[in-house]
């Protein structure tokens, strides 16, 4: 057995970060290839029929689509390094601008959904695993399967019907009421933060009310998934040799479960959390559509509808980068909390 010194954690982290580069490059290449296999050049696809052939040719040259595919590929990759993802065709906006303006809304939605999912999914998973094969376990599993089986937009629609339309408790669309949205100045482009900066507590409260239904919808979807993962992990941990050994030393059942089983069951869960970021972002696209939430997902759909390849490619690139970065961060966190991680 190797004896690990403080240095090996550093070695692991360096290796992991170095591996990150080719991983990103492969993903970017796939995105580029995907977007280029489509027929026609992006400018013609987006604006064909709306402009004269001369104007189109001019736009094509300006965007660099008359050059060879390799030059374009190089432009794409080097652009990303400079954080330049091109300019949208339909409304001539830098793609990074989309993230600056609409990223805050998506971040608010996904992070609050993640918190909700963790608060619901992890405790329920621990309970279900602890009482496995009982009626309570069966009930919790049905809950897990139901939240997974109900598409977010269906769940959102039911919530809108019940809580917004029938009970009238909560608003059902947008990030805040139109008048409130207009009166809060955009500083960070994260509405709740802006409201706080402006010292407008009424606007903040209005924003929170608007956030509840979408965040709950997306959070419930993830909570079922989290619950299932935590449950299985706990069941396997409770069967492990060291849990039996702790029992053999007379460690009380409560301590066995909390100190030995729960902690050890949550470590693999953290590893899997990296993969759930993709699910979270995918769900966010649908949730934003359902609740008319003006985030990245809504923008993606808007640019898809107007067939703006540059915007679509830019958004996908950044989402992919976000997913890969998130999984890098998760791996680093994991290396710190689990002393065994070695490469």
């Amino acid at each position: 057995m190797s004896t690990r010194t403080a240095g090996s954690l550093r070695t692991y982290l360096i290796t992991r970060v170095v591996l990150f580069v080719p991983q990103v490059l492969v993903i970017l290449t796939i995105v580029f290839v995907l977007m280029r296999v489509a027929p026609g050049d992006p400018v013609t696809v987006a604006l064909g029929g709306q402009r004269s052939p001369e104007q189109l040719a001019q736009l094509r040259a300006a965007a660099g689509y008359d050059r060879s595919i390799f030059v374009q590929y190089w432009e794409y990759i080097s652009g990303i390094v400079r954080f330049d993802l091109g300019t949208t065709i339909v409304d001539s906006r830098p793609v990074t601008q989309i993230f600056k303006v609409n990223g805050g809304a998506t971040l608010t939605l996904t992070s609050s959904a993640l918190v909700i999912a963790l608060l619901i999914g992890v405790p329920l998973g621990l309970i279900a695993g602890r009482v496995r094969d009982t009626g309570l376990d069966a009930g919790l599993r049905v809950f897990g399967i139901l939240t997974y089986a109900a598409p977010v937009f269906f769940l959102g629609l039911i919530f809108q019907l019940v809580f917004a339309r029938n009970l009238g408790w909560l608003p059902s669309s947008s990030q805040a009421s139109p008048l409130v949205l207009a009166r809060v100045p955009s500083e960070t482009n994260i509405f709740l933060v802006d409201a706080l900066l402006a010292g407008d507590s009424a606007a903040f409260w209005n924003g929170v009310q608007h956030l509840i239904l979408p965040a709950l919808t997306l959070g419930l979807l993830l909570s079922g998934v989290f619950m299932r993962i935590v449950r299985i992990n706990l069941i396997q941990t409770l069967r492990s040799d060291y849990v039996e050994a702790a029992r053999a030393r007379g460690v009380s059942e409560g301590n066995v479960v909390i100190r030995h089983a729960f902690r050890n069951a949550l470590v693999p869960f953290v590893t899997i959390l990296g993969l759930q970021v993709a699910l979270l972002l995918g769900g966010a696209i649908l949730t934003e559509q359902t609740f008319n939430w003006n985030g990245i997902g809504s923008q993606l759909v808007r640019y898809l509808d107007s067939r703006d390849y540059v915007a679509v490619q830019g958004i996908i690139t950044l989402v992919a980068l976000a997913v890969v970065t998130a999984s890098l961060l998760i791996d680093i966190i994991n290396a710190i909390i689990d002393p065994r991680v070695r490469y």
């Binding site: 057995m1 004896t3 690990r4 492990s240 040799d241 060291y242 039996e244 050994a245 702790a246 029992r247 053999a248 030393r249 007379g250 460690v251 009380s252 059942e253 301590n255 100190r259 030995h260 902690r263 050890n264 470590v267 689990d338 002393p339 065994r340």
Partner: protein, 340 residues
């Protein structure tokens, strides 16, 4: 003679299976005095480990336990789970076979000692805990500097010594050692055996030493119990049993060990018995070279032969053997009958 620390009477441990109950331990009786080491030997799958766990009440869900395990005037079989849990650690210890997976990988060695000591002696100060843990670890040859290390930073042999230290830090009076050296190499094995020997000399700990290595039994045990198909078929002082085995199974087992003087490999023909439907009468009769007509018919009585206790019709009692029961068993008849 001193009173036994632990005395097991007619202990049975059965598991449920699709085909019917698995009689892993089926009526076992033995005693252990303070400082005494009893070796428990037998082929794999004969119920050795189950017996060790059963004594401590550490059985998987669905296992059924019956009989008596008397410890300090109490029958552990009928005691409440809470009561047994309190005894595990300070009174009853268990050393496992696989040192690599038995320590919680996320907790430092110090945490695992603290937890064990705190559970049973809540009044201890942090200083005392540290002092006592390091003391035991030192005795096992683990330097105090490693006290705050994680399990994965130790070799297999070191981890086994840490496991033993964890089991011994509370000075239990009875310890089950379930093949503690099987996963280790020979040098480490000798070390561990030495440590266990010191233990009973210094603390009067009684040890149930489960192993399939007869060499270790000869070296480290006072008495030996030979297990076959859930029953102890012969038990007695090690020297006597090894010099004059009375049960044919013991004889065969001893013959099949490899020593420097071994010229050929000996093995016991036939498969280990089915614990769901064990053979009728004496469970060893299908493989026994000295089987008689009575053997498949009736369950053998326990008889005393010198200092040993044996379960075998060869040793009588004569008044129970029916007419003609001493005729050698004609084996073909039985196999045909079994298949019919």
């Amino acid at each position: 003679m001193t009173e036994p620390v632990i005395s097991v009477r007619d202990l049975r441990v059965w598991y449920g299976s699709e085909r019917g109950p698995v009689r892993a331990v089926d009526g076992v009786t033995f005693d252990l005095r303070p400082g005494e080491t009893l070796g428990l030997v037998g082929e794999s799958g004969c119920g050795k480990s189950t017996l060790g766990r059963g004594v401590l009440g550490l059985l998987p869900r669905g296992a059924k336990l019956a009989g008596e395990v008397n410890y300090e005037g109490r029958n552990l079989v009928t005691a409440s789970p809470k009561a047994i849990q309190r005894l595990r650690g300070p009174d009853l210890g268990l050393i496992f076979q696989e040192p690599l997976t038995r320590l919680n990988p996320l907790l430092r060695i110090s945490d695992q000692f603290e937890e064990t000591l705190r559970t049973h002696e809540p009044g201890l100060s942090k200083q005392d805990i540290r002092h006592r843990s390091i003391e035991v670890l030192r005795a096992m040859g683990i330097p105090p500097t490693r006290y705050r290390a994680y399990p994965h930073e130790f070799s297999g042999g070191m981890r086994q010594r840490i496991m033993i230290a964890l089991a011994l830090v509370l000075r239990p009076s009875f310890v089950v050692a379930d093949e503690p050296t099987t996963a280790l190499d020979v040098l480490v094995e000798a070390q561990i055996i030495g440590i266990l020997g010191d233990l009973r000399r210094n603390f009067d700990t009684s040890l149930l030493f489960i192993t399939h290595n007869l060499g270790i039994v000869a070296e480290a045990c006072d008495r030996v119990a030979v297990m076959y198909a859930g029953r102890i078929v012969e038990q007695g002082p090690v020297t006597e049993v090894f010099a004059r085995p009375q049960h044919p199974y013991t004889r065969e087992l001893l013959r099949s060990t490899i020593s420097l003087s071994t010229t050929g490999l000996h093995y016991i023909p036939g498969a280990p018995p089915d614990l769901i439907e064990p053979p009728s009468g004496c469970r060893f009769h299908p493989r026994c070279p000295s089987a008689m007509r009575v053997c498949p018919e009736q369950f053998p009585e326990q008889v005393e032969v010198g200092p040993q206790r044996v379960e075998c019709w060869l040793h009588g009692p004569d008044e129970l053997v029916p007419e003609g029961g001493r005729e050698p068993l004609v084996r073909e008849e039985i196999t045909v009958a079994d298949e019919a």
